[in-house]
Symmetry: C2
Subunit: 410 residues, 2 copies
């Protein structure tokens, strides 16, 4: 097979994570230690938006020390910046793709690496489809990233383990905090995940470590019923006064309305306006109105995806490997693919890094397995905790200066 010789470009897209820069570091390392097909690695600022403006950085030149790469690996969010641009369908607006190809020609770019989630894999898929028939020979690779863990074809996604670790740690700390008073109280933790409940499930990992977990866990994979919820909470309050509930932001009622958006029939006043209430807040008000005890809701919000100080070392190490594997596969001529992770052994936990046709991955959602949710639909199973546990192992050696973690800014 003839090797493609030229330059490469890498971009980050979609929501940031604590590990997406570790993946970028992996791509840089992959190029530095690769077969030499790639001469210069450019970084696009703000994903394809920057690419179209030729807003490119010479990463090969910038990352000339191990120290810089290590710092990059411990920096949260997307060091290159991100975007949420959806590409036109090939055939619908070929002028867009022609303009992009012209930029590739100008910079002699033969390799395109895109680190992102579902929407970014759509970009990779469309660009692969276009380049396959446009006569400009190049390699297009998707590198997965999403805290949501909802990409198909891979055991898990880079970024998820760190978010899961932060959530698991924070749930433990909140449970401790809530245990100090004897007054009956319900604390509702709202966790990210519009479609899939993986992150919310992570709040329960403590079960297989020290037996401490939220009393109730609700995922978007199951229909949320307010009456069952009230009866679950009452049963939990009968056992002990400090009830902690973890809920996905994306839980919905049987009619499809989001709990956080909607107002219950006949209870409009109790829930306030839809634009005000998040899922946790809506449930807080509902419990207050129905049960009348002390209630608090906590939205974990952005720290879930950017708390690099509490990242999972397993996640960071795998993210670097995945980035490097994308380069190795690309130099071997693989194109139109996304890097994947296969769990080869449960104990000791081992993985194999491979790749799959990106068109089979883009625009699909991987939900939490049925076997991972209990029958009542109000908690996760032991099997779920055992699946999650290896992903949160290890604490990164974050470099602190004057009490604060150091971050690399490009």
């Amino acid at each position: 097979m003839k090797k493609l010789i030229g330059n490469a470009v890498v971009g980050q897209s979609g929501g940031p994570t604590a590990a997406i820069n570790a993946t970028l570091s992996g791509v840089i390392r992959g190029v530095q230690n690769g077969e030499g097909c790639i001469k210069t690695l450019y970084g696009m600022r703000n994903g394809v938006e920057g690419l179209m403006k030729k807003d490119l950085l010479d990463l090969t030149k910038f990352f000339d020390t191990e120290e810089k790469l290590s710092l990059l690996e411990h920096t949260p969010a997307a060091a290159l910046g991100s975007c949420r641009k959806k590409l036109p369908k090939p055939g619908e607006n070929d002028a867009f793709y022609e303009e992009m190809i012209a930029i590739f020609r100008e910079f002699d770019i033969r390799y395109f690496f895109y680190i992102g989630g579902n929407d970014s894999m759509d970009t990779v898929s469309k660009l692969s489809a276009y380049t396959a028939k446009c006569g400009y020979e190049m390699v297009i690779m998707g590198v997965p990233k999403t805290i949501d863990n909802d990409l198909v074809g891979t055991d898990h996604t880079p970024g998820f383990g760190s978010a899961a670790k932060y959530i698991a740690i924070t749930a433990q700390e909140i449970i401790r905090d809530c245990a100090v008073y004897r007054v009956p109280a319900v604390t509702i933790i709202e966790i990210m995940g519009r479609d899939a409940g993986w992150l919310t499930a992570a709040s329960a990992i403590g079960r297989v470590v020290n037996g401490i977990e939220p009393d109730l866990v609700y995922l978007p994979e199951r229909v949320f019923d307010m009456e069952s919820f009230f009866s679950d909470v009452r049963a939990a309050l009968d056992k002990h006064p400090n009830v902690v509930v973890a809920v996905s932001e994306g839980i919905r009622f049987a009619d499809g309305r989001y709990v956080g958006e909607g107002t219950q029939t006949g209870a409009t006043d109790a829930f306030g306006h839809a634009y005000l209430a998040g899922t946790g807040k809506a449930l807080e008000l509902a419990v207050k109105a129905e049960i009348g005890c002390k209630v608090r809701s906590i939205e974990l919000n952005l720290p879930q995806r950017c708390a690099a100080h509490a990242a999972s070392q397993t996640d960071l190490s795998e993210s670097v490997r995945i980035g490097a594997s994308a380069v190795a596969a690309a130099e071997n001529g693989v194109t139109g693919a996304m890097v994947t992770v296969t769990r080869t052994c449960e104990e000791p936990y081992t993985v194999r890094i491979g790749h799959s046709d990106v068109s089979l991955i883009a625009n699909r959602i991987r939900f939490v397995d049925d076997a991972f949710i209990n029958e009542a639909g109000n908690h996760v199973t032991d099997a779920c905790c055992r699946y999650l546990l290896p992903l949160i192992q290890g604490e990164p050696a974050v470099s602190y200066v004057n009490g604060l973690p150091q971050h690399l800014i490009l």
Copy 2:
């Protein structure tokens, strides 16, 4: 001076912190290494509430290894449980105090240590006043604790440094996260502090470390004016698209209404019902309505006070010293006092642990110094950051098992 020989009791009260158990450990260490006046140290479950029910734990017996004490020091929230009980004024309900003294007699308790904030110092003050004239000889000591840093007579309070560190780290991570997109956006971080703005000020510590801090910082020490806020935000957006604002939950309008509670004149609909909107949410809706850009609000919530995984080692070490000093002072006959911290040198940072009459401390609030707030009232000064910086130094050696920090449960 005759030494009082007998037993001691220690309690934790008020809101939990990441360092209140380090202070408890200090009291235990103080007794273990003390002059021997104290035979048995009891812990009251849920503060004075547990004391009145004789719900006491033999801490001398339980904490028989260095390992247990170390684990206690890294456990967030109050290991003994807490309460929010206000004692009657001596003279108003002497039966209450007589009952308490009877319990002291029964357990031969001659030393009373109470770890807490403002309300707890009120308990210490009242109990001191009562015991001073009731004929039962005993020593009453207050040991400070509050993330709010609002006790007078002390340079800072144990628990504050850890909360400040968590807030400073999280602000840095959120600023990184918000920097990834080019679309104009405002992110509002709501931080605890009903009366004093110390915690919110901590979001800006990064300024003297790496030059990175929120664009705007609003403390309850200054009147909040919505029009000035809009013009501040507009000016910040003119400089760069990703504006981050830190606000204390306790900021108020000129007429005394809390921003989070109130609805602005003529703008009721934009702010929704008072019971729904927190301060951050109220400002989010206000910016959305007035400026129209993307806005997000983040309430840091309980993790501010319970994120032991990101505690300040300086805070934990001082908390242990403060607990031990309370015992040493008590064994020397000091009573009716609260342990205090005096900063003896700025660089290198050193402190002296002393004590002050608790009646001069209870029920007073220490606000952020005028010199620590800028003239426009929308940020903190360099002097403020320099005051805060030493308090967040050092990362504790948290013991992780299977990816989660270990906590001690009593």
